[in-house]
Amino acid sequence: MIHVHPVERAWIVMGAVMLAVFAAAVFTSSLMGGIALPVPEAQVDPRLVATPGATSFGEPGLRELAPGQYEARILAQTWAFTPKEIRIKAGSKVTFYFASKDVQHGVHVDATNINLMILPGQVSKLTATFDEPGTYNFICHEYCGVGHQTMFGQVIVEP
């Protein structure tokens, strides 16, 4: 065995325990808080994704599924989201579906846990509830060409 100085041994044990506690905290809070990451939802052909009738992103937009429950299908392309604005009432729960028809994009909806990559060929899905009225930007956060910095949209939550 390695000869280890007692102080160093204490450090090693503390370090290992700390990492174990952090890992436990991360997974416990993820499970208890219902924190979801994007998982495989569906594959789409990026060459057809924007064609009306070919996929559900052919006519993107907001649909009300039940009172206060929505699904938003948002198409990403250089350098715009379609639709670029959705309006809902405070307290609404929205499931977002994103797809790209060209290069990689990404999106983070302000003040929510929606942060995901939008890869051509894949559908990305996450859900959030908007309790506070206000304007929430969703900004493209993956480099997608010279107009990248102009690509964003807004969720407008009305009282």
Binding site: L37, L119, H141
Partner: protein, 544 residues
């Protein structure tokens, strides 16, 4: 001694610092742009076509070209000096250098001419000129050849010294190069099976999810490829420079072996929010990422304790008094000690990114460049500068041109980087400001961001001063300084404790087997899943 090795190292490191100059000088323009001072129209007159063209050169030249050339040169030097023998096949090393330079020149053409403005992650379906992918692949092959040459040399040494333990500096260098061979399988597959045939038009489409996964297979261990040469210096050399000894030499060896096992199977922590990867595999990589933090914790204690021995030997007393007795008038020590201090903070912000859930807050925000400028931009690059303060005089056969200028360079880097990375971290965490974006031109900016954009712009300006001080000194040393009066030797720290390391810390097989098994477990099923869903449906786009 080792004339050929010294010349090789001088070429590798000279090329590294030459291209670093271009890459680093483009950096401050980015933070100025964010703060509202857009100088890109002026940069267009010297061929920088856009913010993103400059950003791509900044990333590729600093993070890929500088690091790879510095590391291959440094290790050629360290292995020869640590084993005490020249390279087994000197001509093979000359050939490796030529291969790397040819690859670099092929890459440079589209890179500099705005034909590959795809950033250093080159995510398809952004489609660069084929030469960009081909050139980078050739650079990697050249770096493999350097690694093979070093292993041949070690093999010859082992034959002559069957009973001796491999010296620590040589062992750390070789483990890094072997890890690099395993790690680069991902990007090699991405280049050979997807990007190169696709950019040449031989296949019509690429699979962005598979390409990203292969990229990050290499992309995260790439970080340890940058970092382990620094650990070689911090463990093997810095204690000597500080008048100390290696507190626990066996644990230093143990850390390097753990990095061989743990560096690769955790790349999915860059892809927590990718749509095409099941959550269970993301969670497994999250746990393994915490595991690879462990050898860095070992290193933190061991290196600080090694320096403390030096501080106490110089008369330092009390809990912290020894710190003031360290050789703060030696720029090589000072730069590396500052680099270590900021790197520790970067480690914490990295642990945040790597956390399965917290990453939802920081992913692709300015927090990430804040983190990587403390780690690769400071822990690694600043340490390489510190190493250069003794190694460049050694290789050039001349005194360091000006020690005071070098000390000013170290202090300005510490201050400039602290400000810049602090600003970036806050912008990302508090406001979700995106990374890699020409923020100054964006329609969605908020006045709340301004103080931190300005803070990082001030930091970037101080860093520009630091860069100028660095190059004044390097140019001064190589061409204008006095010839060395006495030769410089590689600093080699002695172990503090003479208990030798046990035999299992000088055996490749168990560690290599562990590495391969863990890679297969952590990546095998993911790759099978992605290949079963292979969809070569993405044509290329040139949108810059």
């Amino acid at each position: 001694m080792y004339k050929h090795e010294n010349r090789l190292a001088a070429w590798h490191i000279g090329i590294a610092f030459t291209f670093l100059a271009i890459g680093m000088l483009l950096g401050p323009f980015q933070v100025w742009e964010h703060a509202g001072l857009n100088l890109y129209p002026a940069l267009k007159t010297i061929g920088v076509q856009s913010y993103y063209h400059g950003l791509t050169m900044h990333g590729v030249l600093n993070a890929l070209v500088f690091t790879t050339f510095f590391i291959t040169g440094f290790f050629t030097f360290t292995v020869a000096n640590s084993l005490g023998r020249p390279m087994r096949y000197p001509a093979f090393h000359t050939a490796s250098l030529i291969v790397m330079v040819v690859g670099l020149l092929i890459t440079a053409v589209p890179l500099l001419l705005n034909g590959a403005t795809v950033l250093y992650t080159f995510y398809p379906p952004l489609k660069a000129d084929p030469l960009f992918y081909i050139g980078l692949t050739i650079v990697v092959i050249g770096s493999w050849m350097v690694g093979w040459g070093l292993l041949f040399t070690w093999g010859a040494w082992r034959k002559d010294n069957p009973k001796t333990q491999t010296p620590l500096i040589a062992l750390g260098s070789l483990i890094t190069m072997v890890m690099w061979q395993i790690a680069t399988i991902g990007v090699a597959a991405e280049m050979l099976f997807l990007n190169i045939p696709w950019s040449l038009g031989w296949i019509a489409g690429n699979d962005p999810q598979l390409a990203r996964t292969l990229f990050w297979f290499t992309g995260h261990p790439l970080v340890y490829f940058w970092l382990l040469p620094v650990y070689v210096s911090w463990y093997g050399m810095l204690p000597k420079q500080a008048g100390g000894k290696i507190f626990s030499e066996p644990l230093a060896r143990f850390s390097f072996w753990l990095f061989l096992v743990l560096s690769v199977p955790l790349g999915l922590h860059h892809q927590y929010v990718d749509p095409g990867i099941p959550a269970g595999w993301k969670a497994l990589h999250a746990v393994l990422t915490y595991a690879v933090f462990f050898p860095s914790l070992l290193t933190l204690f061991n290196v600080v304790a090694s320096l403390e021995i030096g501080g106490r030997a110089a008369g330092g007393k009390g809990w912290f008094g020894w710190i003031f007795k360290l050789p703060w008038n030696d720029p090589s020590f000072t730069a590396q000690a500052f680099a270590g201090a900021l790197f520790a903070l970067g480690g914490i912000s990295g642990l945040t990114n790597a956390s399965y859930n917290l990453n939802l807050v920081t992913h692709n925000t300015a927090w990430v460049p804040g983190h990587l400028h403390l780690t690769v931009g400071t822990g690694v690059a600043f340490s390489f500068m510190g190493i250069a303060y003794w190694l460049v005089p050694k290789l050039a056969g001349r005194e360091l041109w000006n020690k005071q200028v070098a000390l000013w360079q170290a202090w300005t880097w510490l201050i400039g980087m602290s400000l810049m990375s602090n600003g970036l971290h806050i912008l990302g965490l508090r406001y979700g400001v995106p990374r890699r974006s020409a923020i100054g031109l964006a329609p969605y900016t908020s006045t709340e961001w301004s103080p931190f954009l300005i803070e990082s712009a001030i930091g970037g300006t101080i860093l520009l001063i630091s860069i100028i001080l660095l190059y004044v000194n390097l140019v001064g040393t190589v061409w204008f300084s006095r010839k060395l009066t006495k030769p410089i030797e590689m600093p080699v720290a002695e172990p503090y404790d003479d208990h030798p390391a046990p035999a299992w810390l000088d055996q490749w097989r168990p560690w290599l087997a562990g590495s391969v098994i863990l890679v297969l477990v952590a990546y095998g099923p993911v790759m099978v899943t992605l290949l079963s869903r292979l969809a070569l449906t993405s044509p290329g786009f040139k949108v810059w």
